[in-house]
Every structure is written in C-alpha cells, then in structure tokens.
C-alpha cells in the first residue's frame, strides 16, 4: 500500500504535535519548523498529483482492513488537485503570517497545521463518516484560527460561524445515520453500489438523507440562503486566515462533487442526480447575491468576502449541470478563484497596513507608501477575480460559459454570469479608484515599509493567476481528465476490490 497517501495527513499532524510541545520555544524556531512542515506538505501533494495523473485510483486502507469495513483514503485526480490547491495556498498564507500575524498567541501554527490536516483528510477520505470527522477537524481548527488575533470584532461573526456549523454537523450526522440505516455501510464506493438497490420506503429515507447532506455541504460551500455567515466572518479574520479560508468553501464544493457524482450520480437509479435541480438556480442566485453584497461592501475585506460567495455561485452552477465540460470548467475556475481571492485578502491587509486609521475601508485616505506596488497587485487580483482577460479568471469563465449547451440554462447562466462580471467591474473600479487614486494629504506618520515576506506571499498568490494562464493547457488537460474520471463512478467502485497487504492476489 502506498504510504504517500498518508503524507498530507501525517505531515501536518506531526508538525502540529511538534508545535504543541514547543509553545514556549523561540518564535523563530517555531516559524521555521511550521513553514518547513507546510513546504514538506506541498512537496508531498505534488508527488501525489503526479501519481494521480495516471488516472488510476490509489487506495490506502487504514489498519489494513478491506474496504468497505475499514476507513480508506482514495487518491484520484480530484483529490490530488484539491490537495495541491490547498497546499500551495497554505504555503503562501503561512509565509504571510510570518509577517507578524502569527503573533498574539502561541497556538497559531498548531491550529494552522491542524486545519491543513483536516482539509487533507476531507479531500482524501473515501468514507462518509470519516468525512464528517474531517469536517469537524477542519472546522474546530478554523474556529480557533478565526478567533486568532485578539480584539472584539471577530467574536460575534465567529460565534455565528460556530453555531451554524454545529447545527450543520448535527444535520450531517442525521444524514449519515439515515443513509446508513438503509444501506448499512459508510464507505462511499460501497454506498454508490448499495444506493442503487434501494427501493420502497427506504428510498424516501435515502432521499431525505441525501438532500439533508446537500444542505450541509451547501452550508460549508456558502450557497444561498446559507451564505450569510461568511462575509463578516471572513472580513474580520486575520489576513492569512481569511486567505486560507478561501479554500474552506471549496471543501463544501468538493464534497458536493464527490458525494453527488459518486453516490448520487447518473447511475444511482431512482436517486440519480439528487438535488442538482436545486443547486443550479440557487447557485445563480448566490452569484447575484454575491454581486449585490460586493456592491454594498465598504471595505476591501468584505468586498473580497463577497467575492468568495460570487465564486461559489460561479462554481456550483456548472457543477450542477454535471456535464464533463462544465465540471472541468468549474474545476479550472476553482483553482483560479481560490488562489486569487486569497491573494486579494492578503493585498487588503497590506493596504490596510499603509493607510492609518482608514485601514482597508473604501474611503479617501492619505497616500500609501507603496501605492504603485499595491495597486498593481490589486489590479491583477481583481482582473482575475472578475474574470477579465488576460488572467486565469477569464479562462475559467470562458470555459464555464462555453461548457453549457444552448437552452434556457445557458440563457440563465450567461446572463447572470456576464451581468455579474459587469457589476464586478464597476465595483472593483470604484473601490480601486477610491482607495488608490483618491488620496488626501493627511498628516499620517510615514507608514511603515511593507515587510518583504508579506509582500512576497501576496505577490505569489496573485501571480498564480498568471502561472495558471501559462500552464493553462496542462491544467485543462488535467481538469478534463478529472471530470471524465468523476463521471465514471464505476471505476471508483473498483476500489472495493483492493487487495490488502499480506493477502494473496
């Protein structure tokens, strides 16, 4: 069995354990070890990406127990992609935190690494209940991270986030229970098999369970009407945390893709494509709500928080359509939007650090010391976010637009997406022109010079939108292959036949 599969889980786990012991070690040592952990994690996920690209499924059976009995990790293209998205994002966020936002309490790096562990478990696990556990790990770590940084602004949004997610966890458990009570299994591949045989009243139970599970994932993904916890929570989080959280909604999206294509996919008979007719319109409304929120945002961070919601709508609409092209397009867009929006959160923090009491509010303030540098980052970031050429967001958006077949769905998707882009254009040009252009000669003490590490991290993430364009062909080849793999659950189901160590083949 390929031990590499555990690397994205064990590396942050061990890193976090080390950090737990080092609470009182010098901060430089803790930082070095923490970032080394993230780097190592990145390396391991790249290895996994290379492995997954052969299109086969790699199974790791914990405790050497044959699925569906034990918990398995399953590496496929989607999992590897999510891992890489996350670890690259994490590296830059982590670097950014070294600029000083990791100070304040000694738990930051521990929580950060645990957060990564939770995310990576979620992406790799092939077991529905273990997915619940992964969600809990990543959520509890995110609660801690969300509250990181002191002050009073985060408490209430944090509390809302926690309470809603606790309700979500309860619903998750109920759904898992309902599905288990009929199918008698938890392994996702096995569930895919068992769900097809369900009939009679049991069908209603599975349907209800499946739909409730969808609500849970929609809550994580911040789909309307379950998205309102997000803006304030993200807008008040410390920059590297807010940036890292760009991937949190993607976990919900990932879960929807994973569960609803595998278990409730085309082949699921009476429960085929469960709930997707709800997702499509809701995704579009989410997109619209995101744009409205962005229009009304009065500071950069809440603006970008709403952009997260816009991204969610943009992502889930094509996913709900479920064709190979639309899935591939959505995945492509996901890569772009995750990094871009995260980068923008970092830029917002840099901007805030240069404007005295105005912070990142969209108001007139004294000129920034590094205005040109920051405005270029902002420009690139918002171009990518709004999907304007020539950056990655544009390619993603074009792919999405192109992926939908003519018909009413196309009309809806195109109108909402394009009008949304148009309004984003207005929003971003307005915000940018006020913040970067409309300056006053205030008697602000000369703002501090930006730290090299934070500038580097923000630039890095923003620059990913260029890197994606440069690598667009291989990335697209990968997402297309991923979509095809996802639409062929039969091969996923084969993981049930994996041979265990020491077993005769």
């Amino acid at each position: 069995m390929n031990h590499w599969l555990t690397a994205p889980i064990l590396i942050p786990l061990i890193g976090a354990i080390v950090q737990t012991f080092m609470g009182y070690a010098p901060i430089s040592l803790r930082r070095t070890l923490a970032v080394a952990t993230t780097l190592l994690l990145l390396a391991s996920t790249l290895v996994l990406l290379a492995m997954a690209d052969d299109g086969s499924y790699r199974v790791y059976a914990f405790g050497n127990w044959q699925p569906p009995f034990g918990i398995v990790l399953v590496l496929d293209r989607l999992a590897a992609l999510m891992l890489v998205i996350t670890s690259i994002l994490a590296l830059f966020c982590h670097l950014f935190s070294l600029g000083g936002s990791d100070e304040g309490n000694r738990q930051f790096h521990t929580l950060f690494l645990f957060q990564l562990m939770g995310l990576n478990i979620a992406f790799l696990t092939g077991d529905l209940f273990n997915l619940f556990v992964a969600f809990e790990v990543l959520l509890i770590a995110s609660y801690g991270l969300l509250m990181h940084g002191g002050g009073t602004v985060r408490t209430v949004p944090g509390l809302h986030y926690v309470v809603l997610n606790l309700i979500g966890s309860a619903v998750f458990l109920i759904s898992v229970g309902m599905i288990y009570s009929v199918t008698g299994t938890l392994n996702m591949a096995d569930l895919a098999v068992k769900v097809r045989e369900v009939s009679g009243e049991n069908l209603q139970i599975v349907k209800a369970g499946g739909m409730m599970l969808l609500v849970v994932f929609a809550l994580k993904a911040a789909l309307l009407p379950l998205c309102f916890w997000l803006p304030k929570a993200y807008a008040t989080a410390t920059a590297p945390v807010a940036a890292l959280f760009a991937v949190m909604t993607k976990v919900g999206v990932y879960a929807i893709i994973r569960v609803y294509l595998l278990i409730f996919g085309d082949a699921a008979g009476p429960v085929a494509n469960l709930g997707m007719d709800w997702v499509f319109p809701l995704a579009l409304i989410t997109l619209a709500m995101g744009v409205i929120g962005a229009l009304g945002a009065d500071n950069f961070r809440s603006l970008f928080a709403w952009q997260v919601i816009i991204s969610v709508g943009t992502l889930l609409a094509p996913i709900a359509l479920g064709s190979s092209a639309s899935l591939s397009a959505a995945l492509f867009y996901m890569i772009s939007t995750t990094w871009t929006v995260a980068g923008l959160f970092l830029v917002a923090d840099l901007v805030a650090s240069q404007r005295g009491t105005a912070l990142d509010r969209i108001v007139t303030a004294p000129k920034m010391r590094h205005r040109t540098f920051l405005s270029v980052l902002y420009l690139l970031g918002v171009l990518a976010a709004a999907g304007l050429p020539p950056l990655s967001g544009f390619l993603g958006k074009v792919l999405i637009l192109n992926s939908v077949e003519p018909g009413p769905q196309m009309a809806w998707l195109w109108s909402v997406l394009l009008v949304g882009s148009f309004l984003s254009l207005i929003v971003y040009s307005r915000a940018g022109s006020i913040v970067f252009w409309r300056t006053v000669d205030g008697h602000l003490e000369k703002p501090e010079s930006l730290k090299r590490v934070t500038s580097l991290a923000a630039t890095g993430l923003i620059a990913m939108s260029i890197v994606i364009v440069a690598l667009a062909s291989p990335i697209n080849r990968y997402t297309e292959a991923t979509a095809d793999q996802l639409l062929n659950p039969e091969s996923y189901i084969q993981i049930l036949d994996t041979t265990m160590v020491g077993e005769d083949t």
Binding site: V153, V156, L159, V162, Y180
Partner: protein, 123 residues
Amino acid sequence: MELMYALVIGTLTATGVYLLLRGRTFPVVLGLTMLSYGVNLFLFSTGRLVAGQQPIIGSSDTYTDPLPQALVLTAIVIGFAMTAFVVVMSLRSLADHGDDHVDGSQGDDSQAENKHRKEGSGQ
C-alpha cells in the same frame, strides 16, 4: 417501543431547534446540547433497538450492530469538544460586548450593524 423512541428523538429535535433559535448564547448552547442528544440517539438507533445484545463477544448469542455505537461515541466526544468551544465563545462574546446576546448587543440589530461596520475593518 419504536414509536416511543421516535417520539423521544422528535422531542429532543424539536426542543433543540426551538432553543437554538433563541437570542442568547445560553439557550443556544442548551439547544445544541439537546439537539446532539437527539442526533446521538438517532445515530445510535440506526443499528436498530435491541436489549441485552451488547457487542461484547461472548456476552450474548447475537449482537447488536456495533458500528453505530462506535460512531456515536466519536460523535459524543466531538460534540463535547464543540460544546466546550461554543461555551467559551459565548464567554468571549460576553467579555467583548458585556452582553450575552448572540449578536453581541441587546438584539438591537441596527446598532449592532453600525457597530460592526465601524469595527469591521478595525483590529
């Protein structure tokens, strides 16, 4: 027996939901606790209800489904951690706002809104 059990779960869910929707942190915590009782009992019962068939090998002729029990055990522990966290969060909110309203102030929405807007970008 099953109907009674179902009613118990229904009651726990209903009271849990009702309490969750209150405006103060304390009843919300109670609601979450109540809801998780209901959820745990529900998850537990997915193995169906039997008496005296505890899944200890050798203690009985037939055994109840042990898997839901293990799942519930995990759920209880996680629920405990979450409860502790949310309790502490409400304390923190109390410390920060001098009030235990879930929205941070005496439920005066507009005031809360303004306050957030002002503080939203502050650290």
